[in-house]
């Protein structure tokens, strides 16, 4: 009996020592500052939201600052996500990082490996913060081995946009958008319109060559992006794009472009949006974040549908959340970390989230937000958004739909774009392009893992 007790005690001690590193179960509150640490009087928050979104952030920060007198948050725009990360990296090296920083989704692994982050889970565990109302799909993306590393901030997903007027014009049902690859191709063929000289004045479908869209297509195809549970069970060692599903995606895409009913705007995402808004394409796939602007700018009725998936509609297939999240930086004093957490809590209240959604078009992180006034108003003005919400809620939650975690994710995304380009340009067959891309990124992963043990 005594030996069992000693053994159990030893186990507990080991478990506690491993604290935040052991998957699942154990408490990581030790990583957060003690609960009684007074929050700092001022902290900075670096973000990459320009234009209207930036205004929305300023509004939230101003409201927070005037709602209490203990903490003052200063939100600073730091350029695009790329620029912000470059600046953060530089700042970290010279100890000038802010307390709170927004980093894009694919920067996850990099942030963990930097060792510079205080996981949000630490604060959640310490304060027993209730996250039951948080949108599962959104939270799951930013969890690593069951611990929430950062707080999702601006979440978007991908959907099919389509031109209802064009649908009516060619005799398609405007309330029943295509869902599978074949359905999309068939609809696109019908929607493609040529003029007297044979030039195409409208293409059926016009996706841009964007790595994120490819990742989404892999997810709806229930195909893993990387090994080791998409990089979530353990560090990924290779990518798995050269599967049958990957090939099917590329074949479908290429057939469309070659057949003249898919439009190829290249890597220009804004270009693909403009093409759709101006009626040059009748359907396209993009982020839900562009929905509001499209509805306001397009001179036709905009419809939204589920993101395309293979004909057999794999039931494990679903969409991945995109966007960015907020990290609390370890290099700042405990008081600042505390203050950052106070702000994060405020930002996650339904009222703030509802207004944020209404101002920007991003998903609210908490479900309670949908019951707030601004959110309800939004739903009435933009009913098309409901598709997006339903889609993300109905997506099964598994390793694939939670998104890949890769240290070289930005590089991988770039490489998939080059891969798609080479196939569409006829420089390589789908399989060859996939194999070449996979080989390149596997090498990059190897280098990364060696450099960041």
């Amino acid at each position: 009996m005594r030996r069992l007790a000693t053994f159990a005690l030893a186990l507990t001690m080991v478990a506690t020592a491993c604290g935040g590193l052991a998957p699942g179960g154990s408490d990581s509150s030790a990583l957060a500052p003690a609960k009684d640490v007074a929050p700092a009087a001022a902290i900075t928050w670096w973000h990459a939201m320009g234009g209207v979104n930036g205004e929305a952030i300023n509004r939230i920060v101003t409201a927070f600052n005037s709602s209490q007198s203990k903490i003052k948050v200063e939100a600073i725009f730091q350029g695009t996500y790329d620029d912000l990360l470059a600046k953060l990296n530089t700042a970290l090296a010279s100890n000038a990082a802010p307390a709170l920083v927004q980093v894009y989704d694919i920067g996850q692994r990099y942030m963990y490996d930097s060792g510079q982050v205080v996981p949000m889970q630490a604060f959640i565990d310490r304060d027993k913060f209730n996250t039951s109302d948080f949108e599962p799909a959104v939270i799951n993306y930013y969890k690593y081995q069951d611990k929430l590393q950062s707080m999702p901030w601006n979440a978007s997903s991908s959907i099919l946009f389509y031109n209802k007027d064009a649908f009516k014009e060619v005799g398609l049902d405007p309330e029943k958008p295509p869902v599978t690859f074949t359905e999309v191709a068939d609809a696109a063929k019908k929607l493609t319109k040529k003029d007297a000289s044979g030039a195409t004045v409208r293409f059926g479908f016009g996706p841009s060559i964007y790595g994120w869209l490819f990742e989404q297509l892999m997810a709806t195809s229930a195909a893993p992006y990387a090994d080791n549970g998409n990089g979530r069970d353990n560090r990924a060692t290779k990518v798995l794009w050269n599967s049958a599903q990957g090939k099917a995606i590329l074949d479908w895409w290429k057939a469309g472009v070659d057949g003249g009913y898919f439009y190829n705007p290249g890597i220009d995402n804004a270009g693909s949006t403009n093409a759709f808004n101006s009626g040059k394409t009748a359907m396209y796939i993009e982020s839900t974040a562009t929905l509001r602007n499209t509805i306001n700018v397009a001179k036709f009725q905009v419809g939204t549908g589920l993101y395309p998936r293979p004909d057999n509609k794999p039931k494990d297939g679903g969409n991945i959340i995109g966007g960015a999240s907020l990290y609390i930086m370890k290099s700042r004093p405990a008081a600042e970390q505390q203050a950052a957490w106070e702000f994060v809590k405020y930002a996650m209240t339904p009222a703030v989230q509802g207004q944020w959604q209404s101002d920007t078009g991003y998903y609210p992180i908490v479900k309670g937000a949908y019951d707030t006034g601004p959110s309800k108003e939004w739903a009435t003005k933009y009913p098309q958004f409901l598709t997006a919400i339903t889609q993300i809620r109905e997506s099964p939650q598994n390793r694939n739909t939670n998104g890949a975690v890769l240290g070289v994710m930005p590089q991988a995304r770039q490489r998939t774009q080059k891969m798609i380009e080479s196939v569409l340009l006829g420089q390589a067959t789908s399989q060859a392009a996939l194999d070449a891309a996979v080989a390149d990124i596997n090498k990059a992963i190897e280098t990364y893992n060696k450099a960041n043990p």
Binding site: T90, L92, A199, N264, V408, Q414, K418, L425
Partner: protein, 296 residues
Amino acid sequence: MKGWTSRDLRGLGTGLAYLAPSLFLFAAFVFIPLAQTIYLSFFNTRATGAITTFAGLDNYLELLTSEAFRTGLLATAIFALYTVPIGIGLGLVLAVMLNQRLRGINVFRTMMSSTIAISAAVGALIWLLLFNPSLGLLNYVLSRVGIHGPEWLIQPTTAIIAVSITTIWLTLGTNIIVLLSGLQGVPEEIYEAARLDGARGLRMFTRITVPMVSPSLFFLLVVDTVAVLQAFTQIHLLTRGGPVDATRVLVYSIYLDAFQNFRFGFASAQAVILLLLVMGLTLIQFRFVERRVHYQ
């Protein structure tokens, strides 16, 4: 020092006195950082930039044996060959046109050199709009005159041309201003004397104008080559190095490795190689081309 007389040293001292302010700034903000970069190129680094292990020549070997590097060199060479001669040639033609004494010539001068007022980022954005097949005016205008414009940024060959056109446009302002300044330094007497000798039109241009303005031409050759080999922003905004790495010039590759892939040691090695290449090229230009420059 061998063979240095005290007069030599004094001369050097005087020279250095004039060069001191520039040298001090260069040392602080160019040479020392460069030394740090060269140092870094011999190491492996973590994603956050911290040095992990000594790599020796590994980074350089990896670079020189990679196909991506060869593609990058080719892209850089093609890009430079398209952009520099045409940019300078066009600048010269326009500068000559602008060198006339006509009323209101200032308006035209301002309009043509206005590209210098536009930053690379802004210029690239405007041209992105123009090259855009769906919203872009370029192909639309071409279609009105019966030409079916290419998919500028989608096809590898035309993508380089598109970036080249954008760069030529961006540097046109500088080229025109420098050449105009050079042209205006040519005394009228020289033209008159040549006219008396019977020179006209094209002959006047090639025998008189070009040699007289050759210091400016040479200057632009060196400076534009260097600038083109460092052109980053327009590539970042127009093509991101694509399609299929067609525009992935060396300086863009460095950006990707340094700021996207966070491989600072490796990026530093690339920067060193790019520097050596540019230096070599400039030396060649000075050695073989400056000879033909006519200084008064």
